[in-house]
Amino acid sequence: MKNKLFEKYFVFSPYFWLVLFFFIPLAIIFKISISVSEWGMPPYQDIFLFDNGFKINTTFENYVYIFSDYYYIGSFVNSLILALISTFFCLLIGFPLAFYIATSNIRLRNILLVLVVIPFWSSFLLRVYAWKIILQNNGILNVILLNLGIISEPLQLLYNQYAVIMGIVYTYLPLMILPLYGYLNKFDLNLIEASKDLGLNRIKTFFKVILPLSVPGIVAGSLLVFIPVVGEFIIPEMLGGSDRLYYGKILWEEFFVNRNWPGASALAFSGIIILVLPIVIFQIIYSRWSQKNEI
């Protein structure tokens, strides 16, 4: 009987985790987002007031505020575009790499997999900082290009959206490669040979056989990159400039600079809903599709 109880707990442990670390914090954020802001600590009023009898003290002003100012919506759109572009480049670089790893012999495969994972062993901040050193005006890249005579004055490589995209692609690439590798590893290589045998050249074989059968891996890897990049704060902060404002940065400023906790919470909560709802809908449609197609 003890075992039964343990099993029950064990099965439900992911849900405990979800409730404790996702739903409760989310509820707190929602609570703050509908609170009335004020000067003080914390910088918002309670939503339940008891001084003159029971009174509910909520407002949707914060939502109206962020949705009426393009400053906030624009930053979210910027982040979505950034996430889309970064995911695309991660896929573009990650897919051939994952495919190569999955189809190479077992010894080479293990070495390559370790190489993919190695960056995780050093601090994320350090790695992004290293890019600053490479890309700055008197950085390694500019010095090399100057010495080779390719350029006559240093290029402004840092503090723009391209540096941000590069930094994100570099950082998130393993998150694309690993799930892709997981799927491609199971790929029956005879299918590629069969396609060639039936007269399709390499490019046609890629689009007719390899790509359709890799959809689950592509979806998994893309979601793993796309979702966190939307809220990415550190990389745009360190490598980005003032040319583009991103959602994570605005959120930070609203919380810690403006001390507008209700407004920031409304922004965070809206962001989650806007991001999660389409993904949930997509997942439902996709799982139906893949069941139908038995991939």
Binding site: D188, N190, E193, G199, N201, P212, E294
Partner: protein, 355 residues
């Protein structure tokens, strides 16, 4: 018949230090059903993959219908390859699997007609809308075959075409495959480790071992007159007896009896092959032991196989296998274990092996 339809010339292939094929030469005729038989590691599949274009040989050439195809990519070769795993596309239904190789060059209407025709030929019309996972092994095999045949290849390569089927389905499919091949007159080259499969399908077959072709001939010739000890043992059941010249006849120390051969031997000492079904088994009361080509022994083991009974008969230092056809349903004709019997055979049933 044109003996040079498919010419395999001096093909060698190594993977690292491992020599997989050594100087393979084969000539295969048009419309021939040709088998490559060997145990695993004999190089048979590598040879087939070289024909398919999936491996490049280190040396040598492959010439198909007068065209050197050695350096052609698989998609440029006028032949098709049926994989052991069938390699059907799981994301496509049966129709689209069949149409996969002709979609490029045909109109929608032509594709439809071609798919219907091939489905009819293989009696899989009712499966066209199914997904691959919904098919049985036998059905998958037909789809894989159809997907190749729809391209009307000059040569069809089959890697262990029946290995994934259960035994009953296998013998049925064996028959269908030969009928189909004779009807379509397409040259088939297939690989198998199963000697029965090789014998029943092949017009001619090659026995491979360690990257070499030991023998290449019709199944009858290979069974009845194998040249090497390896082939004799590999195909069917073999009694191998070492004999040497003694006076006018040949003598075996292991059996302690004389052999009379109907032709002279090159060597004074040699191995001979005596197939178990060539030996006649009789009750000891019926006959006296003759001075040669017969022995008396004791039945050690017996297994009843339906149409045959297999006996293991001990005589002196050897155990000889004998297959006795069950002519009569009277079980008295079966000899019990431990019984003394007399075995005899004809002189021409004794085959001398070269090595």
């Amino acid at each position: 018949m044109d003996n040079n339809f498919l010419v395999i010339e001096n093909i060698s292939k190594s993977f690292g230090d491992n020599k997989v094929l050594e100087n393979i030469n084969l000539n295969i005729s048009k419309s021939e059903f040709f088998g490559l038989l060997g145990s695993s590691g004999s190089g048979k599949t590598t040879l087939l993959r070289i024909l398919g274009g999936f491996e490049k040989p280190d040396t040598g050439r492959v010439i198909l219908d007068g065209m050197d195809i050695t350096n052609l990519e698989p998609f440029d070769r006028p032949l098709n390859y049926m994989f052991q795993s069938y390699a059907l596309f799981p994301h496509l239904n049966v129709f689209n699997n069949l149409a996969f190789g002709i979609k490029e060059n045909f109109t929608q209407k032509e594709i439809e007609i071609n798919v219907r025709n091939i489905a009819e030929l293989l009696s899989i019309e009712h499966l066209l809308n199914r997904r691959i996972k919904q098919l049985s092994g036998g059905e998958q095999q037909r789809v894989a075959l159809g997907r190749c045949l729809i391209k009307k290849p000059k040569l069809l390569l089959l890697d262990e075409p029946l290995a994934a089927l259960d035994k009953k389905l296998r013998s049925k499919t064996q028959l269908e495959l030969t009928t189909l091949q004779k009807k379509l007159k397409i040259t088939f080259v297939f690989v198998t480790h199963d000697q029965e499969e090789a014998m029943s399908l092949s017009d001619r077959m090659a026995i491979m071992k360690n990257g070499l072709i030991l023998e290449c001939s019709s199944p009858e010739e290979i069974y009845e007159n194998p040249k090497s000890l390896y082939t004799a043992n590999f195909i069917g059941i073999a009694n191998i007896i070492e004999i040497y010249k003694k006076d006018e006849n040949f003598y075996s120390d292991d059996l302690g009896i004389n052999f009379k051969l109907n032709k002279e031997l090159k060597n004074t000492k040699t191995n001979i092959l005596l197939r178990p079904e060539k030996i006649k088994i009789q009750s000891i009361n019926n006959l006296k032991t003759s001075s040669f080509n017969s022995f008396s022994g004791e039945i050690l083991e017996k297994s009843y196989l339906g149409s045959f009974t297999r006996y293991e008969i001990k005589i002196k230092n050897m155990i000889i296998s004998v297959l006795d056809q069950n002519f009569n349903s009277n079980s008295n004709y079966n000899f019990p274990k431990g019984e003394k019997v007399i075995c005899t055979w004809e002189s021409e049933s004794i085959k001398a092996l070269e090595d």
